[in-house]
């Protein structure tokens, strides 16, 4: 046993002596200068570190941040921290390169958005409870590898959990292609691509409900490829092609594997001035409907958006006017139905905290183009901060059956964590 130990020890010693670096060559003048410079830099760095530490010691404990960040707090507690703290900030000493990010090392960005809804008034065509936690949207987003990023949005509603979207985006493809694979809101029009919390209204327009699958919309598993097209200078043109399984709300239904649905979109955008821009899109969707493989539904859409936002006062004022038109052709018996619907909506940001808006709706129904509903809405939104909003919407509806409805909706939206920015 002892011999074995001795041998091991010998080996270990030998190994360490081998591992020692070779003695350094005599320094050349260049070398010395470089090393001196490196030492100087080190001393400078140490000095600044000492300074930082000294300053940190001189400071009182970090300000408490335990209080909740509800809307009330944001709006009402504006307690002014003592000047000393303001002058010094959390730590006055600087560090080269920003904070250590250990806390979120490799973790995806996680966010939760709450959507609470209260409704008064009657609407037997679009019924809903008086109070509901309409949706809690959990977002998990991260870069996957040097070639792709991943996004997941899980929607927790009153009826259970649904994967609202979950996809991988390939950002490193050659020739400017961007591809996406997974379950996603399709690129048909504008409203169909938007999550509830990014809508400028509480509900969705009648045309969306009647022709494009309502809140769920055309949202399906498949893949998408898009690319910016060559165009005259200053004009942005983008084409998107998407192929899906063929199941989307009450619009498309797949009865066999070959019942795929297809969505295509062409988008043109131009800055009219620095503050104003025009966005025009044409969309097409085609798939099989609930009647069977031999029954197709085709949707044609066009959208026009005019935006104005003065760059110098961007946080205070902006205006947006958006219109979407949808033509639906649904094959059914005895005759195909051709329904048309549209909305026209405008929003004006009055100041940093208030936005007002309105929307006019009109749409025939996909399954019976003789029935046309219309309505209008007035919307007021208050933003205590960027991370919460209170919205009120008055909605009047004139439904084809000859009954008018009148509703008042109040929505509270609040956002936790790092929710990735949405596309423009």
């Amino acid at each position: 046993m002892r011999t074995i130990l001795a041998i091991l020890l010998l080996f270990a010693l030998a190994a360490t002596s081998f591992a020692q670096p070779a003695p350094p060559a005599p320094p050349t003048p260049d070398d010395t200068a470089a090393r001196l410079k490196a030492l100087e830099e080190k001393i400078l760095a140490l000095e600044s570190e000492v300074k930082t530490l000294k300053e940190a010691q001189a400071l009182p404990a970090a300000p408490s941040t335990a209080s909740s960040s509800s809307i009330d707090t944001a709006a009402a507690t504006n307690a002014y921290p003592p000047p000393a703290e303001q002058v010094k900030g959390p730590t006055q000493g600087g560090v080269i390169g920003g904070a250590p990010q250990n806390a979120k090392l490799l973790n995806p960005d996680i966010s939760m958005i709450g959507d609470f809804l209260a409704t008064a008034g009657g609407n037997r065509f679009q019924p809903g409870p008086a109070l509901e936690f309409h949706e809690a949207e959990l977002g998990i987003q991260a870069v996957i590898d040097p070639y792709a990023k991943g996004d997941f949005f899980l929607s927790f509603g009153e009826e259970g959990v649904e994967l609202e979207e979950g996809y991988i985006t390939f950002t490193g493809l050659p020739r400017g292609f961007v591809a996406r694979v997974g379950k996603m809101r399709s690129a048909f029009g504008v409203v169909n691509t938007l999550h509830n919390h990014t809508l400028p209204w509480i509900d969705r327009p009648l045309v969306t409900d009647s022709l494009v699958g309502g809140e769920d919309g055309i949202n399906d598993a498949g893949f998408s490829i898009s690319r910016i097209l060559p165009a005259p200078k200053g004009l942005f043109l983008e084409a998107t092609g998407q192929i899906f399984r063929g199941d989307s709300a009450d619009v498309f239904q797949s009865h066999q594997r070959s019942d795929l649905s297809f969505v295509g979109r062409l988008r043109g955008y131009k800055d009219l001035t620095e503050d104003t821009n025009l966005d025009i899109g044409f969309s097409y969707a085609r798939g099989h409907n609930d009647l069977g493989t031999n029954f197709l539904t085709q949707l044609f859409g066009s959208d026009v958006t005019l935006r104005w936002k003065p760059l110098r006062r961007a946080v205070y004022h902006s205006f947006l006017w958006r219109n979407e038109f949808v033509w639906s052709e649904r094959q059914q018996l005895p005759a195909a139905q051709r329904a048309f619907g549209f909305y026209s909506a405008a929003d004006y940001r009055v100041n940093r905290r208030w936005t007002v808006g309105g929307r006019f709706d009109r749409s025939a129904r996909a399954r019976n183009d003789n029935l046309t509903d219309s309505g209008f809405s007035a919307v007021v939104t208050y933003w205590p901060s960027e991370f919460s909003q209170v919205r009120t919407q008055y909605r009047f509806g004139r439904f084809a059956e000859g009954k008018d409805t009148s509703e008042l909706k109040v929505q509270l939206l609040f956002s936790l964590g790092a929710h990735g920015a949405h596309p423009f």
Partner: protein, 314 residues
């Protein structure tokens, strides 16, 4: 209503579309200058200093625009699509608009951590690093530190150094040119700093109030004391109660100057100023905020001129 072969046809259609687009791609490649896109005008100015005539520089945000609230317009995608290098401020300043632009632009070179994506904050001295817990009860805080670091000329020098190194990496044949431009910039900056320091010497230690926390690097470098902000918390609009408290504090502490960025409304600052016997100074956080502030040097010339003007005779 025949739909046989629908699957095959959709696939074929998509493939044809992709093939057609493939042929149109990659025409604007052989340009001799490096195409650099920066998120802010300050980074564009620094890139221009070291890049000289070997680079084409474009900035996404204008100097008079709040860099937190830029819209991710598709026209910026056109800029990014052709960029060899994207330089950003980092520290989440652009987190509200840059990520979707990067992932939509279809340019592999500028994707996060690719060779053409440079986060300039790694070179700079960063202030206001939170040392305790961070939450949004503090407002729209930047948990990685204050991103307005370019307002200290020393950071300008560091960032320019970093950009020059990156440009040399992308264009090794021009490495010497970039290095020489950087040395020249650095020398001119040292001279300018002497001038600026002399100009500010009489006012060191003066107290100011700012609108947003855009100025810690600036005030630290030139020796001003920030006593408070008009925003109760970063990103939260001013409120009556906070305004009154701020006014009282300014009177108590003898704060005579309020610094406001050009993209904020002057109504509240003006009323605070008149209540507290102070004056409002519209200071530029970025190159291009006004016509006169057309490069990195002129930005400080402009701002420090305004400061001197404000403090004179007090």
């Amino acid at each position: 209503m025949k739909t046989h072969g629908n699957w095959f046809r959709s696939m074929l259609g998509l493939a044809a579309l992709a093939a057609a687009l493939w042929g149109t791609a990659g025409t604007a490649w052989a340009a001799s200058k490096l195409n650099v896109v920066t998120t802010t005008a300050d980074l564009a100015a620094l890139t221009q200093e070291v890049g000289g005539d070997r680079v084409n520089v474009q900035s996404i945000a204008k100097g008079y625009q709040d860099p937190h609230f830029v819209e991710a317009k598709p026209s910026f995608l056109l800029m990014l699509q052709r960029a060899d290098l994207l330089v950003s401020v980092g520290l989440q300043l652009e987190s509200g608009w840059l990520p979707p632009l990067i992932s939509q632009c279809g340019n592999a070179r500028v994707q996060p951590h690719a060779s053409g994506n440079l986060d300039a904050s790694q070179f700079a001295e960063i202030l206001e690093l939170p040392s305790g817990p961070v939450s949004r009860a503090q407002g729209d805080v930047h948990p990685l530190g204050n991103p307005h670091y370019w307002l200290d000329p020393e950071n300008g020098r560091r960032v320019a150094r970093g950009i020059a190194t990156k440009l040399a990496q992308l264009r090794p044949e021009d490495a010497q040119y970039f290095e020489q431009r950087f040395q020249d910039f650095s020398r001119r900056l040292t001279e300018a700093e002497k001038r600026w320091d002399a100009q500010m010497l009489p006012y060191r230690g003066r107290k100011v109030v700012t609108y947003h926390r855009s100025w810690p690097n600036f005030t630290k470098r030139f020796g001003f004391q920030v006593m408070g902000e008009i925003e109760p918390r970063p990103g939260i609009p001013p409120s009556p109660r906070h305004t009154i408290e701020l006014m009282e504090m300014m009177k108590r502490e003898g704060v005579k100057v309020i610094l406001v960025e050009p993209y904020f409304d002057l109504k509240t600052p003006n009323s605070i100023a008149s209540g507290a016997g102070a004056r409002v100074v519209e200071l530029l956080p970025s190159v291009g905020g006004e016509k006169e502030a057309s490069d990195y040097f002129k930005l400080f010339d402009y701002d420090l001129g305004k400061m001197a003007q404000a403090f004179q005779g007090q």
